[in-house]
């Protein structure tokens, strides 16, 4: 039930560099904190973010406990052809979320 916000331009010229913004809802619990009763709060983070463009991987990021809640990842790629950008986040406790966006390249 993860919420994600994706910002990809609808259209781009072939060869243009496009900026892609992704924001996902996640607590990114570090695993170093303790509750008021002293019990350790188990780690719960996103470990990997991958973006594929028509099946080809164009961006990959490994995430660590120092990254704040609701990771905001911005990156760029070259618009090569019309198609689908797929985003996948995977993490602790079997966390997995996917989103897609389409782009038209003229």
């Amino acid at each position: 039930m993860a919420n994600a916000l994706i910002n990809v331009p609808d259209r781009a010229r072939r060869g243009e560099i496009i900026e892609i913004k992704t924001l996902i809802s996640h607590p990114m619990e570090t695993g170093y904190r303790r509750s008021q009763l002293g019990a350790r709060i188990p780690r719960d983070i996103i470990r990997l973010f991958v973006c594929t463009y028509n099946g080809t991987e164009v961006f990959r990021a490994e995430l660590y406990p120092a990254i704040a809640a609701n990771p905001f990842v911005v990156f760029s790629t070259v618009a090569t052809e019309s198609g689908t950008l797929a985003f996948q986040w995977t993490g602790d406790n079997g966390f997995s979320a996917t989103e897609t966006a389409t782009i038209t390249v003229d």
């Binding site: 919420n3 994600a4 916000l5 994706i6 910002n7 913004k21 924001l23 996902i24 809802s25 607590p27 990114m28 704040a68 809640a69 609701n70 905001f72």
Partner: protein, 248 residues
């Protein structure tokens, strides 16, 4: 510059001198609030939109079944809250109104204060008022509560013996530890506070301040907090709603 301007005041801030906390933030934090795809508060708004349309409770009704499209029906609503509730004979906050709807109309259990769902619904409703001026109704019914809120704002309290006004009227724009003291206009609530790494209500913020002056914070939903909330919204009358705001 700002520090000097702030220092020259004492007492109530003139209407034209009021500044949203937004204007005292860094360029980066302002950019984060301005861009809907970078503003983490929008995640809650997105979730709230889903909750708005979801049927729940024994009545099997969704918010949308009565209120319709929130973009039209909820426009300007948050700018009027806390508003007088005839049944409770006192002003209620937007959160309390939403919970009232849940228990009375949807026959669902009330959502806990600061729960993800309540914040999401509140953010979604308040988002529909973005850009509209705060418009609190002051009449014979709300006046006593407004006066009580005003009294709380100017009352010294806690072990540090500080009144809200001593920081937020007299020393806004100056620093408290590393942070700029804002004027305390609740324009962006519920806000995404970077320090919290989550969304939070105005009541959470007020309780934070109370702990800061080493006073015992009121419980969530306490009449004292609602009165103070009412006074703060009245004090920010005419200023634009920014929900979901981002604050450092």
């Amino acid at each position: 510059m700002v520090a000097l301007a702030g220092a020259s005041f004492a007492g109530e801030i003139p209407l034209a001198e009021r500044r949203s906390g937004y204007e005292l933030m860094s360029r980066e934090t302002r950019a984060m609030q301005d861009d809907d795809t970078a503003n983490p508060g929008m995640l809650a708004v997105l979730e709230g939109g889903g909750l708005w349309a979801r049927k729940t409770g024994a009545a099997g009704r969704a918010c949308a079944d009565c209120h319709g499209d929130a973009r039209a029906g909820m426009k300007g609503v948050a700018a009027r809250y806390p508003a007088y509730d005839a049944a409770r004979k006192r002003p209620v906050s937007l959160e309390q109104r939403i919970n009232g709807c849940r228990t009375d109309r949807q026959q669902a259990p009330a959502l806990a204060y600061e729960s993800r769902e309540l914040l999401a619904l509140t953010a979604y409703v308040a988002r529909q008022s973005r850009g509209l001026p705060i418009d609190i109704t002051v009449d014979a019914r709300t006046q006593p509560f407004l006066d009580s809120g005003r009294a709380a704002f100017y009352r010294r309290q806690g072990q540090l013996n500080l009144a809200c006004s001593q920081c937020h009227d007299d020393h806004w724009g100056r620093k408290l530890a590393g942070n700029v003291i804002p004027q305390a206009h609740p324009t962006g609530y519920p806000v995404y506070r970077l320090e919290w790494q989550s969304l939070g209500s105005l009541e959470r913020r007020l309780r934070n301040c109370l702990v800061g002056i080493r006073a015992e914070p009121y419980e969530y939903g306490a009449p004292e907090l609602i009165d103070l909330e009412l006074f703060l919204m009245w004090r920010a009358r005419g200023m634009a709603i920014e929900t979901p705001g981002v604050r450092p």
